[in-house]
């Protein structure tokens, strides 16, 4: 996943291969290894965009750059306000009322309550994964604008 992309096509990325690498890099979208990939004749939404191989571990990351509305509402993308979360909030508030002030548990309960109230007040909450998906879609838009198009568009 990319961590940022600006309007000029400069992107920053941290390798997350095998949860171990952690190497960071910056590229411009004109980099020769930033390319669309897909099976011959594949639809654009089935294609990915590659980043250059990691300069530390050698792994290569391929970004999903097309997301359907359903994919953007997946549980890792959208935290819906559900009856289960509403009950959790009630339970946490009850537990917090019984907990003596100043304890670490009280603080932990307060943090959980705050998070749930934020979801409740917003009617739901987009996650960081949703923000990543939007950055990837922006990358795809900039690639097309620069002339790098999926194979089927050629």
């Amino acid at each position: 996943m990319i961590h940022s992309i600006d309007e000029s096509g400069n992107l920053t990325w941290k390798c997350q291969h095998r949860s171990q690498c952690g190497a960071t890099a910056q590229y411009h979208i004109s980099h020769e290894r930033i390319q669309w990939h897909g099976a011959p004749g594949a639809k654009p939404e089935h294609q990915t965009v590659s980043l250059p191989p990691c300069h530390v571990c050698g792994a290569q990351t391929f970004l999903k750059v097309h997301f359907t509305e359903a994919e953007l509402k997946a549980p890792n993308m959208w935290l819906a306000w559900t009856s289960e979360r509403a009950q959790s909030l009630v339970d946490l508030q009850a537990a917090s009322a019984l907990e003596p002030d100043g304890t670490p548990h009280k603080a932990a309960l307060a943090a959980q309550i705050k998070d749930l109230e934020a979801i409740r007040d917003a009617g739901g909450l987009h996650t960081e994964s949703h923000a990543v998906a939007l950055r990837h879609m922006e990358l795809a838009r900039q690639l097309r604008a620069s002339g790098k198009v999926p194979q089927e568009d050629v």
């Binding site: 291969h17 095998r18 990915t48 191989p53 990691c54 050698g58 994919e71």
Partner: protein, 111 residues
Amino acid sequence: MSLPAVNGNTIQASDLYQLCRPSGGQETGHYWLAGPVYTSGAVISLYMPSQSRGATPVSASIDTTQQAPTGGMTAAPSTFNLTSDGFQISTTSTTGPNTNARAAGGYTIQY
């Protein structure tokens, strides 16, 4: 999560992450891509189902640390068709005819 699972233990939310990865979660594994190449440019492909279902991945990374491309495979493979069910690993960087073009290594799906 403690392994192996023991009767009587409370099921934590994190015990179920592999079934539907949360935001920021990862799934790792290994792949082995191999096949005959009847002519240069022929496709060698496999589909890698994910354990996670329902969560939308944002990227996938692969390496060739277990087996560098050889035997008619001239470059590391690519991944695409990335969905909540898994992804495809494939290459057309092949020279043929060859009987056992192959590459292998680890993969990571980022959610």
